[in-house]
Structures are given as C-alpha cells and as structure tokens.
C-alpha cells in the first residue's frame, strides 16, 4: 500500500483503453448474462464506451445498471410522485430526504430494504440493513435519533418462517441496540404470500442543524478521495445484482459468499467520526459505500458534482490478500464511507478517524474529465464516462395488465361469510391470537426503545414519538402497508397505506409532513407485476399530493419472487410528522374508567382482504376496503384539532381486525387493562361491524365532560362521529353489541390472548429446526 496520493494519469481519458487484466474472463454473451444485463443493455454499454468493456468495467456497469442502483424499471414511475413542498430541503436523489423542522433544525429520514440478504441469512441480513440505513442518515450530517422496521414473513406455523422471523428481529435489535439508536416502531405482517421471501425494510431518522447538511458530492479537482472506516473484504460481492434477481431453490448455496457481516461497534465509531469530520470542514462530500460499494459511491459522487474520479485499487485498505480490482470495486463490506476531502487536509481527516480507532486512506482524487477511472498499481483497468454510468441506465416503461387470478379473487361473492350472527366471541378471541393482530411486544422487547432519553411514545402505540431535546417539539414516525389490499387492488391499497400512515400520526397528535417509501414487488418484467407497480405508484402519488406529504426518497426492491411466485405488492410507506408541543402526544390506550368511547368515520359492510377472512376462512378475496381520500383528510384535520385542544385521552387507528380489535388494543395496551362496554346501532352484518376493515376510522376516548366538544369538532370538520360506549373498570367486562351480534368476555381474557399469542407461537422456535 503506498501512502502517496496517486498522480492523475497524463493520458487523454477519451483514448485510454485499458488492456485486459491477466486472468480476467473474456466477455462472452454468457458472461454478460451472468451480470444481469440484457443483450440490448450490453449494446448500450458498448455504445457508451465506444468499445468492448473490460471485465472490470462490465462488473461496474452491471452493478450500476442493476435495478437496485439504476432503477431501470421504476424510474419513470417514480417521477410521478410529488416531491416538493416549502419544508422539503432535500428531495429524492441524495442518500436521504431532508425536511425543515423549524428552529434551524432539519430532519433526515429514509427507508431501505434488505430483503434478499435476510432471506439467506436473517440475522446478518437484517443487521446490515439497519447498518446501511443508519449510514444513509449520518452521511447527510444528521445524528440518527430513531429507527423503525417494517417486516413481512410467511405464516408462523412453518419452522423456517419462525427461524427467519426470530433471526431478523434479533438482527434488527442487536445492531440498533449496539449503536444506541432507539427503535420507535415498525410493523410486521404474516401471510403465506411472503413464504420464502421475507421483507425487511428499515427506516431511520436523524437530526441536524440546517447548515450541517452535507451532500454526497466529489467536487474540486485534485481533492483527495479517501476510504474511511472498515476494510474492504470479499463479502457481498455483487450484492447489488444479487438483490435484483429472483430467489430460486438453490440460492442458499449459490449466495453464500455474498453474506455480509455487520459490525455495529465499528458503525458506532464511524458515526461519531463521520459527524465530527463533517463538522470539521475538512471534507467536501461524503457517502456511504452501500450497494455496489466503491463503485456506486465514487461514481455517484462524481456524477452529482459533474466531476470525475480516479482511484488506485492498490491503495484501498483490504482485509484479504490478492483481491482483484473487480472484487474491490464491487465488495459490499459494511461500515465504510467514501470521503472527498479538501486538498491538504488528509492528515486532519486521518487524525479524526484515528481518535475513533478507525482508518482513513487516500485512494484517489477528484478529476475534471468526467471519467470514472480505476487503476491497479498505476495501470488503468477501467475508464468509464461517469455520467452515463450513473444516469444512463436504460429505463423501461413496460406493459402492465392486471392478473386474472386477482380479478377472480376480487370478484368473489363474500355474502356467505357475512352470515354469522349472535355470539361472535370465539372468532374474536381467535382473531386476537393471530400474529397480525396480537401484541408485537415479543418483537420490541428485544429493541432498546429508550436510549437517547428522548422517546416519548414507544413502540406499541400508533406511531413512535421522540422529543427534540431543548425544545417543546417532537417528531413522530410510522411505517404502514397492507399487502393484501395491495394485491387485490394496488391503487387503493397504496392509497390505504398512505392514509393509514397519516392516521397513525394524527392519532399520536402529529401533523403528517413527509414520506419515504419502499416499493417491494415481484418481477416487473411480468405484465401483472408491472401493473401492480404502476397502480401502486399512482395511488401513492394521489394520496401524497392530497395530504401534502411529499415523497422525499425511498427505495425499490423488485424481483421478490420464489420459484416464480411473487410476494404481495408491498409499497411500504414511512411517514414522519411534527408535534409543536410534546405534551400533545397522544397514545392509543384507554386511561380512565368512565371515559366516553367514540368512533370517527364510517363503518361499511366490507370484509374483503380482511384478517378475519384469512384466519377464519383461509381466504384472500373481495374488494379491498374503499379509500375516500377527501374523507381521510377531513378526519386527519379533525383528530389533530382535538389533540391540539387537549380533548383526547386516547386515539387509535382502526385497522386490521376492525373495530373489535381496535377496541381490544385500546383496552389492554396501556398500563392497566380497562373494561369496555360498547353498544352499536348498526344493522349491518355483525361480522363486518366487528371485524371489517373499513378505512378512515379512529377510536377515541375522552373525559365525559369533553364528549360534546369532541363531537362538535368532528361535525365542524364534516366527519361522522358517535359515542359508542364507555371505558370500564380495571379487569372488568369487555362487551361489544349490535342488534344482531355480540362479543362478551373479560378484559383479562382479552389481555391474555393479545399478549400471549406471539410468545406462544415463538416458544416453539428453540425447539425446532432453524434451517
């Protein structure tokens, strides 16, 4: 390893044609195919280069033009999303979106998927997923203040799914716990559609002073490029291309060398060192080496600045002997950053890193020729125009046609399932035992939720809330998506996801402010999948526009299929909201015996796509619940108004499991289990009233004296509202009645079912085959 800055080659970049490296394979159609490039895309590469690429260059293109980095199947659709608002400081295009939160402070936030790595090695896959998203945040200059995780698995009666679930939860926990970032929420959903293809999406939020915002740009000709943090090993090579391929039977075997191991301790040091570095003024740009490692970080930094870079592979600190430039360029070793420093400040940079027991090495410099040039011991091995590499990836608009199976499922007549009347206590208790409804405490008890002493609302309520130290303000965040609705109707399902996220925020007392999203879909080359993708994006765009919650970033994860079967379309929405006064933070749980229970919004006879149908009848069918965005907006304003006036003792979004589940959660989720006595006048089928999942509803409680003010506020906003019952005593009866049906049990029974279900399901983990 030489410690001198490599000198820019004197050759004209346009004419530098790297000679093939000894030992590199020849470029054949098979090699091109193995790199995930279609013959047409390869032609385009040749067009850009004006010649046949070297093997190293092919590797670089394959990574940058993968779906993961190049967004070739999604870019055109993503351009339909609303991205602007006065409070947006940084929209899509950077490592994370950034919004203004007042008082000179800015919030960076982003969601990212680690689905495929987690399918292969759940613990490391999830851990490195959290690591990656944290780096996306602190690379912007923001200190991470919270993480959330959005997870999907197949049903828990399979040992493999329990193994995946347990491993992912432990991975998410261990990493965030060690770095010391509180987990404030997330979601998990179990359905056979995710068998073999779990989804692991992690979201992070970070806070900075506005002026501390820094971008991933490599500007200033002659400025040194430095590799910072962990050394580069052979792990995760070609992870980017891998993340864009379908999983097949033998992928466990084939993908072994691609497992990346996370080191949260190094991440914590890297976090402190990076923030110190950014504040020091010694650097002009910084970016994490995420997917496609050095390749994507260096070329993107050059692309954004309109500059070029020249890197010497022999100077990259490596963990193993004999790594080829190809391997170094594509390694996805974790906990690394690429930094463009100011010329002459190399020593200062090294000193800051050394304080945190980390390394920093000069590996190249910024050039002005617009080329991404790679040297090995002074010999050029790759020389690619940077802009076409980062932005020239072909993008496709494909044919989208709705699948026949979906049409059929949606057209299914559900009348017969609406028939049951009378005592519905048993199905209710069974529903509480569904892992989709039951308490998720088993998960978040493994997460440090209180480190940083700012968590005001912990996981378990509608949205997490962290206060901003030194001000009255607080930030709320949530992730949401129901894949079943999205499968039945991707446009309505995506709208429902946005609406639910916003509802979760207002129920916590926060004003919905901005969105990040993770598009988890199957293979977009299939028309029915592309249809889902397009429809979902359109639905998301419509809802986000209307709610004035611009999309500031996100991530796309396609090809989530196992043996040709796709997951449900799952456009996960991560939404952040603001509270002007932390004391307005509202929780989902009843607090006082005798309080009035009210419901806002309209209950329709909708059981399509419901958890009730899935658990009781093993059926995913019918129309997804209708989403009335204007009504949703009125509802949001009404609830926020009530929270701001301090009228609410509790507010809870009504979602999976319907009104009965929402009442149960409000009754037992808090410190004490309080009884519930509810009388409904609806003459709709009781199954629909209790378990139907009509959107746009909120269950509230308030002091009896405030009931009329709550009703007035609702009326003022044009939101249907009614008092439906009363909060009972601790350990009391839990009763919901309609003229046609009833649920009668004790709140202690509800509590036992609700909290006992997931531990009981997972108790079996340790006694079963993990692999």
């Amino acid at each position: 390893m030489s410690d001198s800055t490599p000198t820019t080659s004197t050759v004209d970049p346009e004419t530098v044609i790297p000679a093939p490296r000894p030992g590199d394979p020849e470029i054949t159609p098979e090699v091109v195919e193995a790199h995930g490039l279609s013959p047409e895309e390869y032609e385009r590469v040749v067009g850009v280069m004006g010649r046949t690429p070297t093997f190293t260059e092919l590797g670089v293109f394959s990574a940058m033009w993968s779906e993961h980095c190049g967004y070739k199947n999604s870019k055109r659709l993503l351009s339909l999303l609303p991205t602007e608002a006065p409070w947006v400081i940084q929209g899509p295009g950077e490592n994370a979106g950034v919004i203004d939160v007042g008082d000179g402070m800015a919030l960076a936030f982003k969601i990212e998927s680690h689905n495929h790595p987690s399918a292969v090695e759940p613990y490391q896959g999830a851990a490195t997923g959290v690591g990656g998203i944290l780096r996306d945040i602190f690379t912007m200059g923001a200190r991470p203040i919270a993480v959330l995780d959005s997870l999907r698995f197949g049903d828990l009666d399979s040992g493999r799914n329990r193994y995946l679930f347990a491993g992912v939860v432990k991975g998410v926990g261990d990493y965030g716990n060690c770095v010391g970032i509180p987990n404030i929420g997330g979601e998990v959903f179990f359905d056979r559609a995710y068998d073999g293809n779990p989804l692991v999406n992690a979201m992070a939020l970070g806070l900075m002073k506005r002026e501390e915002l820094i971008k991933g740009e490599a500007s200033g000709t002659g400025n040194p490029i430095m590799a910072v943090g962990a050394r580069t090993g052979r792990d995760g090579i070609h992870g980017a291309t891998f993340a864009s391929e379908e999983l097949s039977e033998d992928s466990d075997e084939a993908s072994r060398p691609q497992v990346q191991v996370g080191d949260p301790f190094t991440e914590k040091l890297l976090l402190e060192a990076s923030l110190e570095l950014i504040r020091s003024g010694h650097i002009v740009g910084i970016q994490d080496m995420g997917a496609a490692g050095v390749t994507s970080s260096a070329s993107e930094m050059a692309g954004r600045a309109g500059s070029g870079v020249e890197l010497e592979m022999a100077d990259v600190p490596v963990r193993e002997e004999g790594m080829t430039p190809y391997e170094i360029l594509l390694s996805e070793s974790q906990e690394r950053m690429l930094v463009a420093a100011r010329k002459g400040r190399e020593e200062d940079v090294r000193k800051i890193l050394a304080k945190w027991e980390l390394e920093a090495e000069v590996i190249g410099e910024v050039t002005d020729d617009g080329y991404f040039r790679i040297l090995e011991d002074g010999v050029v091995v790759a020389n690619i125009p940077a802009l076409p590499l980062t932005d020239g990836c072909p993008t496709y608009e494909r044919e989208g046609i709705e699948g026949d199976d979906v049409k059929e499922a949606r057209a299914r007549d559900l009348t017969e399932f609406l028939a049951p009347e009378g005592d519905l206590t048993d199905p209710f208790l069974r529903l509480l035992g569904s892992p989709n409804i039951a308490s998720k405490r088993w998960i978040y008890d493994q997460f440090d939720t209180t480190v940083r002493t700012s968590t005001v609302v912990r996981p378990g309520s509608d949205a997490g809330v962290v206060r901003l130290r030194g001000s009255r303000k607080a930030i709320a965040a949530t992730t949401d998506c129901n894949g079943r609705y999205c499968w039945l109707n991707p446009r309505e399902g995506a709208k429902a996801a946005v609406a639910e996220a916003a509802r979760n925020l207002v129920c916590t007392g926060a004003l919905p402010t901005a969105v990040t999203n993770n598009l988890n879909f199957g293979n977009p080359l299939k028309p029915h999948i592309y249809f889902q993708l397009r429809e979902a994006v359109l639905g998301m765009a419509e809802a986000c526009s209307l709610f004035e919650t611009p999309v500031t970033g996100g991530n796309v994860s396609l090809f989530n299929e196992t043996d040709g079967v796709a997951i449900y379309p799952t456009p996960v929405i991560g939404m952040v909201g603001l509270l002007d006064d932390v004391d307005q933070a509202t929780r989902a749980f009843f607090t006082h015996e005798g309080d009035a229970i009210l419901v806002l919004g309209e209950t329709r006879e909708e059981i399509g796509g419901s958890e009730y149908l899935y658990r009781e009848h093993d059926l995913v069918a019918g129309e997804a619940p209708l989403v009335d965005l204007l009504a949703e907006r009125r509802l949001q304003h009404a609830v926020l108004g009530m929270a701001q006036k301090g009228l609410l003792r509790s507010a809870h979004d009504c979602a999976e499991g319907g009104l009965a589940a929402a009442l149960a959660e409000s009754a037992v989720g808090g410190e004490k289990a309080l009884g519930v006595k509810v009388e409904l006048t609806s003459r709709l089928a009781p199954v629909a009233v209790f378990f139907g999942e009509s959107t746009g509803r909120v269950v509230l409680s308030c002091a009896p004296d405030d009931e009329s003010r709550v009703l007035d506020t609702a009326r003022h906003h044009g939101v249907p509202a009614a008092r439906i019952g009363t909060v009972g005593n601790e350990g009391g009866a839990f009763a919901i009645r309609t003229p046609l049906g009833s649920i009668e049990t004790s709140v202690n029974e509800v509590r036992t079912r609700y909290f006992g279900a997931l531990p009981a399901l997972m108790e079996r983990t340790r006694s079963e085959e993990p692999v």
């Binding site: 490391q124 792990d235 497992v259 990346q260 191991v261 993990p770 692999v771």
Partner: protein, 91 residues
Amino acid sequence: MSRFDIEVRVKPRPGLLDPQGKAIHHALESLGYPGVGEVRVGKVIDLTLEADSEAEARERADEMCRKLLSNPVTEDYQLRVRASAGKEAEG
C-alpha cells in the same frame, strides 16, 4: 449402547468478517502483546451422546451440526467424537 463425548467447534467461514476477532486482536495489541496474527472467534459445543458405535455417534452428531449447531451460510464446523471415559486431559 455406549456414551460418547462430542465436541463441536463452530467457526466463522474464512473470508467473512469476524468483528469479535477483530476487537480481541485490537485489545491484545493495546495490552502490549506483539506478534499476534489474525484472531477468529467461534463456538465450542460439548455434549454426550448415547449410540451403538462410534460411527453411529459421529453420523448423528454430524447431522445435528448440519441441522442445528452450525449455520451453513456463515459457519464451518469440526467434530470430535470419543468414547466417554471420565474427564479428558488436555492442555
């Protein structure tokens, strides 16, 4: 039926990052031990097994390793089987 002592050593696969090993290496260096090369940390699992023969014990233990005791994605294992005879002496 005889009893066999099984020792399974489970180690991170070569090439994979071993953060524990890295931290220990660093600690040993700062404690002033020179000349320490790479450090790798694994698990050692001791158990006893009843079987008709050593071959059978080995076979069963090997299956346990593949199924439960090691994670084939990230770990390799080594197996040692011996007839039980009180404490082994080693050092």
